[in-house]
């Protein structure tokens, strides 16, 4: 009798344990493919009239008047000077005679959609901006500032050669890659700064709404248009500039460009926009 009771108690404890562990494991498991599907479904349900590929146009996809302005703007795009400068920089040899093309697959043409990638050797995410500066340093050149001007021009040119190609970020079967992805997701949803905003507060909860005079862009496809010319900045800005500016706008001290957090964030945000076309360089109000 006592034995039977003990067995019953053990079975009950096991069942309880399974019940307790089940939901926790489900919430904590890392499933990028399921995340991407849910993420894209969220936006297509929220904006049912919008085609998936239109999300890459940011605020211009959210507002008819702005869309008209954008179409007119694209006749003489404000990023054109930067694009031309980037092309020239990209093809001009370094002092040692090599060029950027020597550092990248397919000579750096039409590869933007594959960045950032997870470098299994380094065990970290490598962004296009980081790869460009590493290329410069490997060839005896000083690195560029990550936030504007030269870096924006170079990435503008590289994005232009990938225009229309679907974002294609790979997550290799490596627990470190999954961890980097998960950390990026965590950063995206974590509230920070005195204003207690996360990236999601603006770009998930409120795309299409106004924050002061600005129309907020949807998170889906937000990096496909990078780098961008922003009228507010009166110039070009890179993904690094976008991230650091967002942090300071919510009264958070920005991290250093290309710190692990930002690299992981870019990895996450780019992955969930897989399949949407590269539209960079872009222009924003």
């Amino acid at each position: 009798m006592t034995r039977r009771l003990a067995i019953r108690a053990a079975i009950a404890t096991f069942a309880l344990g399974m019940l307790a562990c089940g939901p926790a494991r489900a919430a904590d498991s890392v499933d990028p493919a399921a995340d991407k599907a849910a993420f894209q479904k969220f936006f297509t349900s929220k904006f049912p009239k919008l085609k998936l590929e239109d999300f890459v146009n940011g605020p211009y996809s959210m507002n008819e008047d702005l869309h008209k302005q954008w179409e007119e703007k694209e006749q003489f795009p404000p990023y054109e000077f930067s694009l031309e400068a980037g092309k020239e920089m990209f093809t001009t040899p370094f002092k040692n005679g090599k060029t950027y093309a020597d550092c990248f697959p397919n000579k750096g043409i039409g590869i933007r959609q594959n960045y950032p990638y997870f470098d299994e050797k380094e065990g970290k995410v490598v962004t296009l901006e980081l790869a460009l500066n590493r290329c410069r340093e490997a060839n005896g050149e000083a690195p560029f500032s990550y936030v504007k001007d030269d870096m924006a021009a170079l990435t503008a040119y590289m994005a232009f050669t990938s225009r229309g190609k679907p974002m294609d970020i790979q997550i290799p079967n490596d627990p470190r890659a999954l961890q980097a992805y998960q950390k990026g997701k965590e950063y995206f949803y974590t509230r920070r700064g005195q204003l207690n905003f996360s990236c999601a507060t603006c770009h998930i909860q409120s795309p299409g709404e106004r924050i002061r005079a600005e129309v907020l862009a949807p998170a889906l496809g937000i990096l496909n248009a990078m780098p961008i010319y922003r009228s507010e900045w009166s110039g070009m800005g890179t993904t690094s500039r976008r991230f650091t500016t967002c942090n300071s706008q919510i009264r958070g001290v920005p991290l250093n460009p290309q710190d692990d957090e930002y690299r992981n964030l870019e990895y996450y945000l780019s992955y969930v926009s897989n399949g949407l076309p590269i539209s960079g360089p872009g222009a924003r109000p």
Binding site: D35, R191, R192, Q194, S198, S248, R251, G252, E261
Partner: protein, 104 residues
């Protein structure tokens, strides 16, 4: 009687003296308050979650301290410490709370 009056005067003088010390902050008060605020902000930095307002309030405290205005300096340092502690609370609570906002 005169003894009692003297005692009252003495007590009043003592009260006034301690009251004025409590109102006017000293350099030591400022340094202690500033160090506490700086330590809290450093902790927020380790959590990768410093606020710009903490930094600017700390700067204001230092500016007032350097100018010898220790009352303002202490008030600003205490404000900076409160901001830093709020940022620590935010970073700690968000370790789990971020999941509430996740699109699933």
């Amino acid at each position: 009687m005169s003894g009692a009056i003297r005692a009252i005067f003495a007590a009043s003088a003592l009260l006034l003296a301690t009251a004025s010390t409590a109102l006017a902050a000293s350099e030591a008060d400022y340094k202690a308050a500033y160090a506490a605020a700086e330590a809290a902000n450093k902790e927020a930095g380790a959590l990768r979650n410093q606020w710009t307002t903490t930094a600017s309030t700390l700067s204001a405290a230092k500016k007032a301290g350097d100018a010898g205005d220790f009352d303002t300096a202490v008030a600003q340092a205490k404000e900076a410490e409160a901001l830093a502690k709020a940022s620590i609370f935010q970073a700690t609570s968000e370790k789990e709370r971020w999941k509430d906002m996740e699109v699933r």
